[in-house]
C-alpha cells in the first residue's frame, strides 16, 4: 500500500474506513449504533521538533512526551532533515550531563542521558519548555510527506491541550458535525487526553522499545460513562490506539477497575492482551510487521488482519498518518465475559 503523501485537501472526502471483520466500507458514523460509547482523545499536537546547535553542529531535538515545566525528555537526531528517513540520518554526538545545546530562544542543559539509549536525553531549558516549543518548534515531519507540515496540518478536529508529540491521527476520521450526528442518534461521547508519542527515533533498538511510557488523563465523567456502558453491556469504542492504550492501561493498573486522574502507561497491547474495556477501535491502516499490527492482534487474530490488509490494498487504501482507516471489532472471547 502507498502512504498518503500529505494532509487531505480542502473539500476532499474524509478517510475511507473498512470494517474488520465484515470487510465492507462505511462512513465513520455508520459503524456506531445507539447505546455505543465513543471515547476520543482531545490532545493537540505540539511543535515537537526543535533545532539546536552543539559545538558548531546542527542537531534536531524531538520531544518524546509533553514537557513538565522547564524539563523535557527528548530524542536527539544528527544532521540532515526530514527529507531523509530517520533511520538514514547520521547518528548524533554522544552528549553528557552538563552539556549545553543552543536553541534559538533558549538553552537546553543536558541533565540525564539514558544509559541504554544514548540519544534519549532529559534537558532543562531556560523557560517553560512548552513555551519554547511554541516559540520556535515545528511539527515532527515525515520523509514521505511532500511539503513541510504546518501546525494547522497536525491538529485534529478535537484538539485541546497540547500533549501529543505526533498527531493522534485516528481523530482525522471525525469532525464536530459528525460527533453531533452521533449524539443525535444516541451514541454517547466521552473524552480523555493521551500524549501520543514519537513514532520513530532513528535508532532501530529504541524504535523496537516504542511506545515509551505515555502520559494520559482520564476524567471522572469518562470513568462514569465507561462504568455505565459496561454495566449495561454496551460497546465501548476507542477512536485511535492512544485511547485504547489509556483505557486498557488504566484498567490494568486498577485490576479491571478504572480510576480517574493523570497517569502514565507503558502498556503494549498484543495478541496475548486481554481487553478489559475496549470492544472496538477506529485506527489507521498499517502494514504487517509494524508495532501497530501487533496491537490490533489484541482485537482480531492475525489472519483477519492480514485479510484486512489485502482488502485495503485491493481497494487502494492509503496508509500512515493522513491515510485511511479501519474499524476493528474485538473478537468475543469467553474469558473476558467472566
Amino acid at each position: 500500500m502507498s502512504p498518503a503523501t500529505g494532509p487531505r485537501a480542502e473539500g476532499a472526502k474524509g478517510p475511507r474506513i473498512l470494517g474488520v471483520p465484515g470487510y465492507e466500507e462505511r462512513a465513520f458514523e455508520d459503524f456506531l449504533h445507539a447505546g455505543d460509547l465513543l471515547v476520543v482523545n482531545d490532545a493537540a499536537t505540539l511543535p515537537a521538533s526543535l533545532f539546536a546547535r552543539f559545538r558548531g553542529a546542527r542537531l534536531e531535538l524531538r520531544l518524546v512526551s509533553p514537557p513538565e515545566g522547564h524539563v523535557a525528555r527528548v530524542v536527539l537526531f544528527g544532521g540532515g532533515d526530514h527529507h531523509m528517513r530517520t533511520e538514514d540520518r547520521p547518528a548524533p554526538p554522544v552528549l553528557r550531563p552538563g552539556d549545553v545545546l543552543e536553541l534559538r530562544t533558549s538553552r537546553a542543559r543536558v541533565t540525564h542521558v539514558d544509559p541504554q539509549f544514548l540519544r534519549l536525553l532529559t534537558v532543562e531549558l531556560d523557560a517553560p519548555a512548552v513555551q519554547v516549543a511554541y516559540a520556535e518548534g515545528h511539527p515532527v515531519q515525515y520523509a514521505y510527506i511532500e511539503r513541510p507540515l504546518d501546525l494547522w496540518d497536525v491538529q485534529t478536529p478535537l484538539a485541546g491541550r497540547p500533549w501529543a508529540v505526533e498527531a493522534p491521527s485516528a481523530s482525522y476520521m471525525t469532525s464536530v458535525p459528525a460527533l453531533r450526528r452521533l449524539r443525535a442518534k444516541g451514541v454517547a461521547i466521552a473524552t480523555l487526553t493521551h500524549a501520543a508519542g514519537l513514532s520513530s527515533t532513528g535508532d532501530a533498538r529504541l524504535d523496537a522499545a516504542l511506545p515509551l511510557p505515555e502520559r494520559y488523563e482520564l476524567p471522572q465523567a469518562t470513568v462514569d460513562a465507561v462504568q455505565v456502558a459496561r454495566a449495561q453491556g454496551r460497546r465501548i469504542v476507542a477512536l485511535g490506539t492512544t485511547v485504547a492504550r489509556a483505557l486498557e492501561g488504566n484498567a490494568l493498573r486498577g485490576g479491571g477497575r478504572l480510576e480517574a486522574g493523570r497517569f502514565e502507561t507503558d502498556l503494549r497491547l498484543g495478541a496475548a492482551s486481554p481487553l478489559r474495556v475496549v470492544s472496538a477501535i477506529y485506527t489507521g491502516v498499517h502494514e504487517e510487521g509494524v508495532s501497530h499490527f501487533g496491537l490490533l492482534e489484541a482485537f482480531r487474530p492475525a489472519g483477519d488482519l492480514r485479510y484486512a490488509i489485502e482488502e485495503s490494498e485491493r481497494r487502494g487504501f492509503l496508509t500512515h498518518e493522513f491515510g485511511d482507516g479501519w474499524f476493528v471489532e474485538a473478537e468475543a472471547r469467553a474469558a473476558l465475559a467472566a
Binding site: V40, D42, A44, L46, V130, Q131, Y134, D150, L151, W152, Q155, T156, P157, L158, A159, G160, R161, P162, V176, P177, L179, R180, I189, T191, A221
Partner: protein, 233 residues
C-alpha cells in the same frame, strides 16, 4: 470555574474584561502583540490576586492561531469562554475607502474577522466536547457594524462581517453559545486614535462596560444574539 481566553487583553476593554472575569475566580489567559505592555498588564492583575496569564502573539497572523489556542489550554486548561476583543482600526487617521490601500483593508480583515474565525475554529472541537462547561464565544462588536461612518469603512465591514460570522456559528454549532456585544463608545486608546477630539467625560469607562459584558456572558444570554453594553459615562 471558568477558563477564559481574551484577545487584545493588554489594555482598554480587554484588560478590564480580564479583571472582571478574574475577580469572579476565572482562570484568564490574555493574548496581545506587545509583549512588554502585556507583561506589565498581567503583573498588575496578578498583584490584585487574580489568576491571569499573558501570551504574546498576533491574532491577525494565521501561524499564531494554534500557538494561542494551545498555550491557553496549557496555562488554563480547557477553555470554555473565548472573547474576541482584539481589533485594529487600520491606518490612522482613518482614511476614506478611496484612499485606503487594498493591503490595509486586508490587514483589518485579518485581525478583526479572519483571526476570530480561525481561533474559534481551533478551539471549537475541544469546546463542543465539554457541553457541561457551558462554552461561550463572545465577539466584541461596534456601532460601526450597523451604521456607516466616513473613514470607518474597513473597520465597519470587518465588524458587520464578524457579527454575521457569530450568527453563522450560532446556526451551525448548538453546543456552544455565540454572542456579539457592542460596547458603545469608551474612553480607550483605540477611541482616542479614532476620534482624538472626543471629550473623555462623555465616554463610558471600560471597567464599567466590562462588568456589563461579563454580567451578560455568565448567565444564559440566547445564542446568536447581538447586544449593546451600556457602561456609565
Amino acid at each position: 470555574m471558568k477558563r477564559v481566553l481574551i484577545t487584545g487583553g493588554s489594555r482598554g476593554l480587554g484588560l478590564s474584561l480580564a479583571r472582571s472575569f478574574g475577580v469572579r475566580e476565572a482562570k484568564v489567559v490574555v493574548v496581545a502583540r506587545d509583549a512588554k505592555r502585556l507583561d506589565a498588564a498581567v503583573r498588575g492583575l496578578r498583584k490584585e490576586g487574580l489568576d491571569v496569564h499573558g501570551i504574546a502573539f498576533d491574532v491577525g497572523n494565521k501561524k499564531d492561531i494554534h500557538r494561542i489556542a494551545a498555550m491557553a489550554e496549557e496555562l488554563a486548561g480547557p477553555i470554555d469562554t473565548l472573547v474576541h476583543n482584539a481589533s485594529t482600526l487600520g491606518p490612522l487617521p482613518m482614511p476614506e475607502l478611496s484612499s485606503l490601500s487594498c493591503e490595509a483593508f486586508q490587514a483589518v480583515l485579518e485581525t478583526n474577522l479572519l483571526g476570530p474565525f480561525r481561533l474559534t475554529k481551533a478551539l471549537l472541537g475541544s469546546m463542543t466536547l465539554r457541553p457541561e462547561s457551558s462554552p461561550s464565544v463572545v465577539f466584541v462588536s461596534s456601532d460601526a457594524a450597523t451604521s456607516a461612518y466616513p473613514g470607518w469603512g474597513a473597520y465597519g465591514v470587518s465588524k458587520a462581517a464578524a457579527d454575521h460570522l457569530m450568527r453563522s456559528f450560532a446556526a451551525e454549532v448548538p453546543e456552544v453559545r455565540f454572542l456579539s456585544v457592542d460596547p458603545g463608545e469608551m474612553d480607550t486608546a483605540m477611541h482616542r486614535d479614532a476620534m482624538p477630539d472626543a471629550d473623555p467625560a462623555t465616554l463610558a469607562r471600560p471597567d464599567a462596560v466590562a462588568e456589563a459584558i461579563v454580567a451578560m456572558v455568565l448567565p444564559k444570554a440566547a445564542t446568536g444574539s447581538r447586544r449593546v453594553a451600556l457602561g456609565e459615562a
